[in-house]
């Protein structure tokens, strides 16, 4: 039914199960415990995991398959967000038209930027995309403020027209919904000290992410995907084989731009605000890091990378000294203080340092990203089990 082979079906099922059970998996520590700091199972962060997962999956279709390294993909994410918020302001609080609109607008942007940028390859392509994205960011931050609300970010106001939902009484801002299901409504479940949050917004994002993942799987396994990998491998041979690389790369660029727009639209659907920083080069760099960190060209890598970075940004940055003291309070005072001093540079305001060190460690020791790490562990496990010498030949990671 899904037109996937057994291995891929298995991967999809595992990803689906993990995603749907994420509210439980990501909250492994009891609510009151000291380690609860590491729980990530709250709606906002889970939404970010899957939404940035979508962004990275889309980026990987371009970078992982064709090898074209775009340094401006955040522009499409930003455009998607702005489009969605404008739909909320003008049309309806229903997320469906907003998401559809953001995908379309981001796609149109991608057609224009891709058409121009793909005239060059290699680093020249990267710089062209970077230039377009930085121009978008700078304009959105300043000159285009009437459309983007500049530094503050575009947000809903009490006097938005909203043609379909009509003007509400000015009691408060309306909430994004899908045919009445409010994105932020959350069911909370307490079991013996553990707390779990199941939010509508997360499950909508998760389902869309699974669709996006499935779609990318199909693209990877399609003749189109084969052509894209051929472009990465040897563009010269491809053209002497009678194939025109340009429309293939453009299609890949536009598809990945639409993925970014989808992610941007979803971000706005979860929290109706669109900031210009979403388009800055650092944001574009982030998705590159996510993809490479997870494993470029692999199916699941980008999703892992996205989760990894977002986890650090949100969890490590919130650990402060008083939490450290709490953790180490069982130690004698002197040792407690010593340990706190030792860990202090790496947490809270120092979370960037930890992230930088981890980037380096992953690239140095796991050139294939986290996926390669997983494969190595898997191989080790299999080898121990079988007791034989498994083939050391590296197969292209899928």
């Amino acid at each position: 039914m899904l037109k996937l082979d057994r291995k891929d079906t298995l991967l999809l099922v595992i990803v689906a199960l993990m995603t749907l059970a994420a509210p439980i998996i990501l909250n492994p520590f009891p609510t009151g415990s000291a380690l609860a700091q590491f729980n990530a199972g709250y709606p906002d962060l889970m939404q970010r995991f899957v939404i940035y997962g979508i962004f990275a999956i889309g980026f990987n279709i371009l970078f992982g398959l064709t090898g074209y390294l775009s340094f401006g993909h955040a522009a499409f994410l930003g455009v998607g967000s702005y489009s969605a918020v404008w739909m909320f302001k003008l049309l309806s609080m229903n997320v469906l038209p907003a998401i559809v609109f953001s995908v379309i607008i981001a796609g149109l942007f991608a057609v224009v930027i891709g058409y121009v940028s793909l005239r060059r390859s290699g680093i020249y392509f990267s710089i062209l995309t970077l230039a377009f994205a930085q121009m978008s960011f700078n304009m959105a931050y300043s000159v285009l403020t009437p459309i983007t609300n500049g530094e503050t970010g575009l947000q809903l106001t009490l006097n938005d027209p909203r043609i379909l939902d009509g003007a509400r009484a000015a009691t408060g801002l309306p909430v994004t919904n899908l045919f009445g299901f409010e994105m932020r409504s959350t069911a909370h479940l307490d079991i013996a000290g553990w707390g779990f949050d199941f939010s509508v917004g997360y499950y909508l994002s998760a389902v869309i992410m699974l669709l996006a993942f499935y779609l990318s799987m199909r693209i990877f396994r399609s003749p189109f995907g084969l052509m894209l990998r051929a472009i990465k491998s040897n563009q010269n041979r491809l053209s002497y084989t009678g194939l025109n690389a340009r429309p293939y790369t453009l299609a890949a660029f536009v598809i990945s731009g639409m993925y970014a727009g989808l992610a941007g639209g979803l971000l706005a659907a979860m929290d109706p605000l669109a900031g210009a920083e979403r388009m800055q080069w650092t944001a574009s760099g982030e998705v590159v890091l996510m993809t490479i960190l997870g494993g470029a060209g692999t199916l699941i890598g980008p999703v892992l990378g996205a989760g990894f970075i977002k986890y650090f940004e949100n969890i490590f940055s919130k650990i402060n000294d008083s939490i450290l003291h709490q953790w180490f309070s069982f130690m004698p005072d002197g040792i407690e203080d010593f340990l706190v001093t030792l860990v202090h540079p790496f947490i809270g305001k120092g979370w960037h340092l930890t992230l930088g060190l981890l980037f380096m460690a992953v690239v140095i020791f796991l050139p294939g990203g986290l996926v390669e790490g997983g494969q190595r562990i898997g191989r080790l496990f299999r080898r121990n089990k079988a007791g034989d010498t498994a083939s050391p030949a590296t197969t292209p990671a899928e």
């Binding site: 970010r48 503050t152 408060g172 409504s185 940055s317």
Partner: protein, 448 residues
């Protein structure tokens, strides 16, 4: 479904299947276990301190964090009590808040609206905070204020100077103690008039984003009211670094005052470079060329070093004030950390105490009750003299400081000196002043 209410923290009976929750999530929006978002249930209550800890404003954010930590200690009865001793309201007695110990969580806004909203979300959803305080930029303040309004908790703004925070973007759940661009203009103009005369031609360099624009609008209005003319208003990109190509044409334009509507690193660089160009050694129109920086902070003064000597600007508060509240705060901050607090630290400290006091007086953590207790509150003893929290726009009205770079500072901390304490009456304005219209407070949202 019913109204657009925030429906987090519905407590399911432990026996219920999570599957049912997935299938019909809205079932539970009808039943309500708590009256408002994150109602504290245990023996603690959690505040969220959302400040920049990385990026250009990290030092300012960390100073805010120190002050916030100090405020929590004082509320919980640790230390010397600081401003609680001088605060006109005596509802707080150093035994925590309504019988609960105050704890806090921290987050890194990176001075980006998006990130700040994400950390605020995590504080609300994960840590169950009842109030968020802090921040070092107006964009962030407006974004987080909007989130708190939607989530149904109180936002006590940190350092945010744009008119919009309590102007077009004002919110019922948001409160600002810090002063704003209009007040800077109103306080500065008379001092500038006295020092430089009524016949001056001003050239503006303005950071090209919302705060810059409101700052420029305010200072242009108040200096023109003084009789000055405005020769040019030039937008500069945020983070330009090298401002030489904007500074070089200034002398030639016939202007004799340069007004730098910049903040943070932009201001440090533009002022340093303007001084390097020798502008202040020049004579134009028979007068000495002058530079004005409408909004000062300790961060900027430290960054610009000797270049600020003799340059006028305004501030919300300064540790050199002599009132009892200031002295109490500076003593308790200085003893703990070894240096005097910044005005960003002061505003966050005061905001935290004001929130706690409002809770204590209202006898409830319900944000609507707290908001009511804050609205039109008259208080004193927190520095800045008698202060009003105006109910119409949630803006504090108090004395504003006009500062000048000290000619011969004795230490790293007195590089700015207080020139004048502008009385509050001079900086007051109508809540519907044209610079502040375009938005509405809306109604207080308790969430849940």
């Amino acid at each position: 479904m019913s109204k657009s209410t925030y429906s987090r923290r519905r407590v399911l009976k432990s026996g219920a299947l999570s599957g049912a929750a997935l299938a019909m999530p809205t079932i539970f929006t009808a039943s309500s276990a708590s009256a408002f978002t994150n109602e504290p249930t245990g023996d603690t209550v959690t505040f969220g301190f959302n400040v920049p800890q990385t990026g250009a404003y990290a030092e300012e954010g960390l100073d805010e964090l120190r002050a916030q930590e100090l405020a929590v200690e004082h509320i919980n009865g640790i230390g010397d009590g600081g401003m609680l001793n001088t605060f006109s309201s005596k509802a707080l007695d150093g035994t925590g808040l309504m019988g609960k110990r105050v704890t806090f969580v921290t987050g890194d806004t990176q001075t980006k609206s998006d990130v700040a909203r994400a950390t605020a979300q995590s504080m609300i959803q994960k840590d169950g905070v009842i109030m968020i305080n802090g921040g070092s930029s107006s964009g962030v303040a407006v974004a987080v204020q909007g989130l708190c309004q939607e989530a149904g908790i109180i936002f006590m703004a940190g350092l945010t100077h744009s008119n919009d925070t309590t102007g077009k973007d004002r919110k019922a759940n948001g409160f600002r103690h810090f002063f704003n661009a209009y007040m800077s203009g109103a306080a500065l103009a008379p001092v500038l008039g006295n020092a430089y005369g009524a016949d001056r031609r001003a050239y503006h360099l303005t950071a090209d984003y919302t705060w810059g624009w409101t700052q420029e609008e305010s200072i242009v209005a108040s200096t023109e009211a003084l009789g000055w003319t405005t020769t040019n208003k030039v937008m500069t990109p945020v983070g330009a670094g090298d401002f030489s190509s904007y500074i070089a044409p200034v002398l030639n334009s016939g202007a004799d005052v340069l007004i730098l509507n910049h903040y943070g690193a932009d201001m440090v660089n533009s002022l340093t470079q303007a001084v390097q160009f020798g502008l202040r050694d020049k004579q134009v129109n028979g007068k000495t060329f002058e530079i004005v920086v409408p909004l000062y902070s300790e961060l900027m003064a430290a960054g610009a070093g000797a270049n600020i000597q003799g340059v006028y600007g305004s501030m919300n508060w300064n540790w050199q004030l002599q009132d009892a509240g200031t002295q109490a705060f500076v003593r308790s901050f200085g003893e703990k950390f070894g240096f005097p607090p910044s005005n960003a630290a002061h505003t966050c400290y005061v905001q935290t105490l004001l929130y706690a006091d409002a809770v204590a007086r209202a006898g409830s953590f319900n944000p609507c009750a707290v908001a009511e207790a804050l609205e039109d509150l008259e208080f004193d003893g927190m520095g800045n003299g008698p202060t009003t929290y105006r109910g119409a726009d949630h803006q504090c009205f108090k004395d504003v400081l006009v500062m000048k770079g000290a000619e011969s500072p004795t230490s790293a901390y007195d590089t700015l000196e207080i020139v004048e304490i502008t009385p509050r009456a001079q900086v007051e304005y109508d809540p519907e002043h044209p610079m502040f219209t375009g938005g509405a407070l809306g109604e207080c949202n308790p969430g849940a």
